[in-house]
Amino acid sequence: MEVKNFIEKAKEDIANAVGRDQLLIKTVHSVNEVRKAANRLSMNLKERLGLYMPASVRDGDLVKLALKPKKEEMGMEMSKSDLESIKKLAKILESVLKLEEEQLEYLSLLMVEVAPKVEKVAGAFVGAQLMDLAGGLKSLAEMPSSRIQVLGAEKALFRHLTTDAKPPKFGVIFAHESISKAENKGKASRQLAAKISIAARVDYFSPLEKL
C-alpha cells in the first residue's frame, strides 16, 4: 500500500470515528464556558452597580436594575455616561444568560438523541457531564458503576488511593436531585450510578430497547 492510500484510509477512518456523542461533549464544554462567563459578568456587574445602588443589588435582578438605575443611600454620584457604560455591560450579561438557556435546551435535545435512557435516569446536564468525563457513550457504557459514581471526583479518588484518606462518595452525579436531597447520600449515589450504568449500556449496545 502506498502512502497516498494510507492517508485516504486514515481520513475515512477519522470521519467515521467521530460520532454524535463527540458533538455532545463539545456542547457540554460550551455550556460550562457560557455559565462561567455569566457568573463572572454578573458578579462584576453587581460590584459596579453596587457603587450606585448598594441596597437593591443585594437581591434584585441585576439586569433590570442596571437598565433603570436609581441612586440610593450610601451610593456614590454617577454621571449619565457612567450609567450608560454600566447599561451596556448589563445588556451583554442579559444576552449571555439567554445564550446559556438556549445552549442548555439544545444540549437536552442532543442528549435525548444520543443517550435517551441516560437522559431519563440522570437528567440531561448530569448525563452530558458524565459523557464528557468518560470521553463518549462507548466508554461510559463500558465503565463499572463504581467508576461512574466518582467521575468528577478524581482529586479525592487519587488522594484516597495514594494516602489513607476516605474514598469519595460521589462525583458530578451529586448534582442530581435524588442525591443532593437524599438523607444517606452515599447509598443514593451508589444506587443512581448503578442505574446510570445500565442505562448507558442499553443506549450503546441496544439503542432500540425500551427501558
Binding site: M1, K9, I14
Partner: protein, 215 residues
C-alpha cells in the same frame, strides 16, 4: 548530508533537524537557516537526546513504526531524519489528534498515518518489517503493547520506548515502576539502556534496546 545535529553543551545544548520543507513549520517551532529546533519539552525523543541518547539512533532511509503519533510533533522530526527513502507508519487511535497528523502527512511524502489501536496489531494494514519501533503511549499496559508489536521489527532492529510511570500506576513511586518495566523488558531486549527524562518530562523514562527475537 547530515540531517540531525546537536550543538552546544549543558544548558545551551540544542537539537537541530534539517527541514525537508524549508520555510514551512507545523507546530510553531523555530526554524533557522533551514534547520528546525527539536524542543526536549515537547518531544520525549528530544528529551532523551538531551539526556544522552545518540542522535543517530534513527538513520536516513529507516522504516519506523511509530506508536502513539499524536499530533505528529516528533513524527515530523523523524520524518526529516529518515528522508524520502525512509518511511514512518504513524499509528494513532484518537481521531481528534489524528486530524493534525493527517494534515502533516499530506505535506510530507514519508508519513503513513494509521488510525488503529496499537493494542490490536492484528488490525493493522499490511506494513512489513521495520528498522525502528518507537513507542510513546499513555497506556497501562505499555510494555505489553510494545512486546505485541515486536513482530514487525527486523532482526537487527532497535526499539525506542518512552514510558510514562503515571499511566502504569499512579500510586507507585515512578522509580519502582521503571525498575519493574526494566525486568519485563530485559526478557525481550538486549543491550537495554535506560534514561530518566527528568527535568524535561516528569515521571518518564526512555528505554532503548535491540530485539532478542526469540522465534
Amino acid at each position: 548530508m547530515k540531517r540531525i545535529k546537536v550543538l552546544g553543551e549543558g544548558k545551551k545544548k540544542k537539537i537541530l533537524v534539517r527541514n525537508s520543507t524549508p520555510g514551512k513549520t507545523f507546530f510553531s517551532e523555530t526554524e533557522r537557516d533551514g534547520w528546525r529546533i527539536l524542543s526536549p519539552y515537547n518531544s520525549k525523543f528530544g528529551a532523551a537526546i538531551m539526556k544522552g541518547l545518540s542522535e543517530n539512533v534513527i538513520q536516513e532511509g529507516d522504516k519506523v513504526l511509530y506508536l502513539g503519533a499524536s499530533h505528529g510533533y516528533t513524527v515530523s522530526f523523524v520524518s526529516d531524519i529518515v528522508g524520502d527513502k525512509g518511511l514512518i507508519y504513524a499509528v494513532e487511535f484518537a481521531p481528534e489528534v489524528a486530524k493534525e497528523l493527517v494534515f502533516l502527512s499530506e505535506q510530507r511524502k514519508n508519513i503513513a498515518p494509521i488510525l488503529v489501536d496499537a493494542n490490536q496489531p492484528k488490525n493493522y494494514p499490511e506494513i512489513g518489517k521495520v528498522d525502528v519501533i518507537y513507542q510513546d503511549l499513555a497506556q497501562k499496559n505499555q510494555a505489553e503493547i510494545l512486546i505485541k508489536n515486536l513482530k514487525f521489527l527486523k532482526e537487527d532492529g532497535i526499539v525506542l520506548f518512552a514510558a510514562k510511570a503515571r499511566s502504569i500506576d499512579v500510586t507507585m513511586q515512578p522509580s519502582k515502576v521503571f525498575k519493574g518495566l526494566e525486568t519485563i523488558l530485559k526478557d525481550s531486549f538486549s543491550g537495554l539502556k535506560v534514561l530518566i527524562l527528568d527535568p524535561y518530562e516528569k515521571d518518564h523514562a526512555f528505554y532503548m534496546g535491540k530485539s532478542k527475537h526469540l522465534k
